[in-house]
């Protein structure tokens, strides 16, 4: 059975301190408990969390949904988004089962990235590594007005913006992420086997604006 790897890249810089980081923690918890009630996700989804502030670190290695444990998440420091993308690329190389003639490997990983500010390190270096790997759907979320959607557009064409980084909007975003991971009926005009682009996602909640 192919696994569906899901990587969450979460900004834990100092500006996320307080309500936003608490909302992110709650969001992760809600995401996991929602997915555990979803038979599709429970059968196939594996979750990893990479946080980034002054450094990037994988706080949860790729883990089967039922075995997932909430990691410690604290907000402080700057926004090493470039390093986070480099780390993601490394983890994809080691954690994803590749398809060979003999073995069906994993689905292409889904990536959900959330940040509230501009990267403070060399984004281009991380971006280059990231672009060399194959991903399924990649969604970048700009939480609040401090994040630059144009920066995020360099990572993926699927960029959503939350007007504010308060608990209600962040919660809505995670709810939407969980709905995106479950699959449903395919529309007549769709052409991909993997979940790849925004048109296949469930409708975003009213709090999320899709940047086009």
């Amino acid at each position: 059975m192919r696994r569906l790897p899901v990587y969450l890249l979460l900004d834990t810089s100092g500006s996320m301190y307080g309500e936003p980081i608490e909302a992110v923690k709650n969001g992760v918890q809600t995401l996991i408990s929602t997915l555990r009630g979803d038979p599709y996700a429970l059968e196939t989804a594996y979750i990893s969390i990479i946080t980034f502030n002054s450094v990037a670190q994988q706080v949860t290695p790729l883990t089967e949904l039922s075995a997932f444990q909430q990691p410690q998440i604290e907000a402080s420091g700057c926004t090493a988004l470039g390093e986070a993308l480099t780390l993601l690329a490394q983890k994809v190389d080691t954690e994803i089962v590749k398809t060979t003639q003999e073995v069906k490997g994993d689905w292409k990983p889904l990536v959900f990235l959330m940040t509230d500010g501009e990267p403070t390190d060399d984004l281009q270096k991380g971006l280059d590594e990231f672009k060399k790997r194959k991903f399924g759907m990649v969604v970048a979320c700009a939480a609040g007005q401090g994040a630059n959607t144009n920066t995020l557009k360099q990572i993926t064409e699927n960029v959503v913006q939350l007007d504010t980084a308060d608990s209600a909007t962040i919660k809505a975003f995670f709810k939407w992420v969980s709905a995106s991971i479950s699959t449903g009926s395919q529309k007549v005009e769709d052409t991909h086997g993997d979940v790849a682009s925004m048109s296949e996602l469930p409708p975003p909640p009213p709090e999320v604006n899709i940047v086009v």
Partner: protein, 492 residues
């Protein structure tokens, strides 16, 4: 508390609901009525004239043809069919009955959630997450499949294709052996209302996947139809009875791209994992996780454990008809084969066996394929014969396995009767029953006026019994279509 909204529906009746979204589907938002007997589902986007006409027909003439009939009440249990249409804030909504409470988990880790079929069709979910008291047994799962086949047969008889049959759109309850088809608003009428979705992964027919890159008006493009419903139905039945997907084997069709590999494996290169001649898509059991075993390994649980009637239909669905839609069995054929298969089951003698029932394997040393328990004791098999012309009986290749307190029905006694939504209350009562009494198997006549022991040449009065001994012939019904039983005994 959210505001209560009151509207007038298309049929002039009053519809009430609270202004609070309780659930979201792919295209609709769902609101609850105050008395929780129905829900109102609004399409998020404005619907076009064609959709409006489709929905008007679904709540109108199509609904009346199925539900405003003597069997209407029976079908209400098998469909959550839209009954009315409303307009609100420029949006169109449909009214549907609330799902019966047996279709929600009543306890355990998933309490309150809908019983989506996936829970019961996946080996990993069954073995690792599903509480034992929610699984039902192999016989109730067979009953569940009968309900699904019957409901699909009714849709197809009305010229309607569901177009998105999947375990997401059918709620099931293995405990009572029930099923209910939901999301009936996207029905396809060939040539009149085209489909909006191509289906749900796992259930989309190969020809639909193979041609989905073509333009909608291309003549080669295949869209959901009654034939693709037949593929989805076969996959559903295979998955509920065997807990694995019939096409997900070990063959890799594209090394570089998992999406492309999926497309080929379910589309152009789709191949049955138990294809008798082409073995290239066999499951590689060593690559499965322990939670997927033993069901995931066809070498341990081949599809032949479903018995001869279903084996034949699986061959037609996944070997001959996989890439030739016209050869796929109809829903009516599935219903018939499933019903007849319930006559072949035996209770497993292992009290801890999870399946609890298994299909007699036609050997002299029968054993349960699920737990391996051999059957001990005397096992009577009743072979059915009928007379197309007077007095000359021929075999029907149809059998009834006997077990203690097993019951005999009118549809066993006469081959012109079959159990269906039309079965009358009187015909639902057993006409005979079987017991192990004084070291022999007997059939007690409860309501068979002209049953006769042909071997002894004497009638069996109501309340009297006839022993089931090797070779004994019993005529159940003297009328047209009446069946003759020839007894076979297995001794272990």
């Amino acid at each position: 508390m959210a505001n209560k909204i009151t509207l007038t529906a298309n049929d002039g009746s009053i519809v009430e609901f609270y202004d609070e979204i309780k659930a979201q589907g792919g295209v609709k938002d769902v609101y609850f009525s105050p008395d929780k007997t129905y829900v109102v589902a609004f399409y998020r986007k404005p619907i076009n004239a064609n959709d409006r006409e489709r929905i008007t027909n679904i709540v109108g003439i199509y609904r009346q043809r199925i539900f405003d009939t003597p069997e209407g009440n029976y079908w209400k249990n098998l469909f959550a069919w839209p009954t009315k249409m409303v307009e609100w804030n420029g949006k169109t909504g449909i009214i549907m009955p609330f799902y019966d409470k047996k279709f929600f988990f009543s306890s355990g880790p998933f309490k309150g959630k809908e019983k989506e079929g996936k829970w019961f069709a996946s080996a990993k979910l069954r073995n690792k997450f599903l509480p034992a008291d929610q699984k039902g047994n192999w016989l109730t799962n067979l009953h569940m499949c009968i309900k699904i086949a019957r409901a699909v047969r009714r849709l197809h008889a009305a010229g309607l294709a569901h177009s998105d049959l999947s375990y997401k759109n059918i709620l099931v309850d293995p405990i009572t052996g029930s099923a209910c088809i939901i999301d009936d608003d996207s029905l396809v009428v060939p040539g009149k209302f085209p489909p909006e979705v191509i289906g749900t992964p796992d259930f989309i027919a190969p020809e639909v996947i193979e041609t989905k890159h073509l333009a909608l008006d291309d003549k080669q493009r295949k869209l959901p139809s009654i034939y693709t419903d037949r593929h989805a139905l076969a996959v559903l039945i295979y998955m509920y009875l065997l807990n694995r997907h019939p096409l997900r084997g070990g063959k890799v069709n594209d090394v570089n791209d998992s999406g492309r590999d999926e497309e080929l494996s379910m589309g152009a290169k789709a191949l049955f994992i138990e294809n008798p001649t082409d073995k290239s898509n066999r499951v590689k059991a060593q690559q499965l996780s322990p939670a997927e075993l033993p069901q995931g390994d066809p070498a341990k649980m081949p599809y032949t454990i479903c018995g001869p009637y279903l084996k034949k239909l699986f061959d037609r669905a996944f070997v001959e008809g996989l890439h030739d839609p016209s050869k796929r069995p109809s829903a009516a054929e599935w219903e018939d084969a499933l019903v007849k298969t319930t006559d072949l089951v035996q209770p497993c003698q292992n009290p801890n066996c999870e399946a609890k029932w298994f299909v007699f394997d036609n050997t002299t040393k029968p054993k349960c394929p699920f737990c391996g328990q051999p059957y001990h004791g005397q096992l009577p098999i009743l072979n059915f014969y009928y007379a197309p012309s007077h007095g000359k009986f021929i075999s029907e290749n149809y059998r009834l396995m006997v077990y203690d307190k097993q019951t005999l029905y009118k549809w066993h006694a006469n081959n012109l009767v079959s159990p269906s939504e039309r079965t009358s209350e009187a015909d639902k009562k057993p006409v005979g029953d079987f017991h192990f009494f004084n070291n022999q198997w007997i059939l007690i006549n409860r309501n068979l006026p002209d049953i006769m022991d042909v071997t002894e040449k004497k009638p069996i009065a109501i309340g009297e019994y006839v022993p089931l001994t090797e070779g004994r012939q019993i005529l159940l019904d003297k009328g047209q279509g009446g069946r003759l039983i020839v007894v076979q005994l297995v001794n272990n």
